[in-house]
């Protein structure tokens, strides 16, 4: 025997299940009167600095069917690339950019849509700057551990081409699954959990 390492084991993940809305977005689930409002309905507040954008999409399963019970959470930097977090040590983020949002997809067609600002570039441990990106975290019935991915922007070609993560991906043919296309009314970002054009998910 050797001495034990003094570390605890992380608690195991379990699926959020079909009734995740009761816990995370009770007002959306029709349970009113407990919380004044659901958390995370807005990533930004009026007066926020930066370019306002809209992001819309769906989360699609291996049969091509949109999930109608998923909840996504977004985590992003402000327009200057600073996170609104006590763990952010590089400066004070724009207080009008909470940087975090929580969006249940539509129960009828599975679509989501939210308004935010385009994030600035965030330093990478290598010293290079990352391209602007949003972190997505997706939970639903049938998803055993929350899926993390990133959304980059199609119109940030230069930043994307030098991004330390995008450029390191072995299968470059899959990189477009991380890039939101620009449409007339904003950015479109569909997440394919499985199958053709399966989105890249990260083990962070």
């Amino acid at each position: 025997m050797v001495q034990p390492l003094d570390t605890l084991k992380e608690t195991s993940s379990q699926t959020a299940g079909p009734y995740v809305h009761i816990g995370l977005t009770p007002n959306f689930a029709g349970i009113s009167g407990i919380y004044d409002e659901d958390l995370g309905t807005r990533i930004i507040e009026d007066g926020v600095r930066g370019e306002r954008i809209t992001v819309a999409g769906k989360v699609i399963d291996g049969t091509g069917t949109p999930l109608k019970d998923a909840v996504i959470e977004i985590w992003q930097a402000d327009a200057d690339g600073l996170y609104n977090s006590p763990s952010e040590t590089r400066g004070e983020a724009d207080p009008k950019c909470r940087g975090w949002g929580r969006f249940p997809v539509d129960g009828a067609d599975g679509s989501f849509s939210f308004e935010t600002v385009k994030p600035g570039r965030v330093a990478h441990p290598s010293g290079r700057d990352q391209a602007p990106h949003l972190t997505f975290w997706i939970v639903a019935r049938g998803i055993n551990i929350g899926l993390q991915t990133r959304m980059y922007f199609a119109d940030e070609e230069e930043a994307n081409s030098e991004d330390p993560i995008l450029t390191k991906i072995e299968h470059q043919s899959r990189v477009p699954t991380l890039i939101a296309c620009k449409e007339a009314d904003g950015y479109r970002f569909d997440i394919r959990i499985q199958g053709h054009n399966e989105t890249i998910f990260f083990d962070i």
Partner: protein
């Protein structure tokens, strides 16, 4: 979101141990089959985007947010069922408390029925039970809430499948990499080893850590029994002798 703790911790988290988490594809839990990525997840190395995370202030909390016995009940009434307290500590893998962290919980009522439009179990709704609560951990990482013990319920995964009684937990730490959703089970429930969702976890010891023991020391006599449930989030890496890269 305010600064609730100091000194501020930053830096990368220890890698997740995949052996204690369910894999994505677990055919015994049928819904996972079409909702599991086929490709391996990509390891990107950790950046500030994962080391930072949202923190919530007490201003979001109402007086009854951690009291599911009262937070939906009509004045002077309370839900049917066994009154319990669920309490414990939120720690990280280094054994340090995680203070100022938001924990959100949801559950079925005493009969095993959720208050949800997609719920079809014939057990009745309880007019005095909503089924959600939340709490922010204190300086020692401690949390506590009061509720009604949820009932087991059938679900259409197989011809005769029943979920053990459980409470769903959603937990924030201080970094988005710590984000976790899990379920708490109750000591002595014979449905636990039969449950396909429990069995998505490949490690028996890890399953045991999701089972809350009856805690007689925190029981309130003639009122409510207590169950203890500690939760462990990923810990930050030690930086001993580590060359700090620029921007890290």
């Amino acid at each position: 979101m305010s600064k609730l703790f100091s000194p501020t911790e930053t830096g990368a988290f220890v890698a997740r141990n995949p052996g204690i988490h369910p894999p994505s594809y677990t055919p015994g839990y049928k819904t996972s089959v079409a909702r599991s990525p086929k490709h391996a997840k990509l390891s990107l190395g950790m950046t500030l985007s994962e080391m930072t995370g949202p923190v919530f202030g007490h201003d979001i909390l109402g007086d009854l947010d951690n009291d599911m016995i009262l937070n939906f009940a009509a004045p002077g009434e309370s839900p049917i069922g066994q009154r319990i307290i669920v309490h414990g500590r939120l720690l990280d893998e280094r054994g340090r408390p995680v203070p100022g962290a938001l924990i959100e919980v949801w559950q079925a009522n005493a009969g095993g029925r959720y208050r949800h439009k997609k719920e079809s179990y014939l057990a009745p709704l309880d007019p005095n039970f909503g089924g959600c609560g939340r709490v922010i951990t204190d300086d020692d990482g401690y949390y506590c809430f009061r509720t009604i013990k949820p009932g087991p319920y059938p679900w259409p995964n197989g011809p005769n499948e029943w979920r053990p009684a459980h409470i769903h937990f959603s937990v924030f730490g201080h970094g988005f990499a710590q984000r976790l959703i899990t379920q708490m089970y109750f000591e002595g429930d014979p449905l636990i080893p039969l449950c396909p969702i429990v069995r998505t976890i490949p490690d028996e010891e890890a399953i045991k850590r999701l089972i809350a023991p009856l805690d007689m020391n925190h029981t309130i006599p003639m009122d409510a029994r207590a169950y203890k449930f500690d939760i462990v989030l990923r810990g930050r890496r030690s930086t001993l002798f580590e060359n700090r890269l620029e921007g890290n």
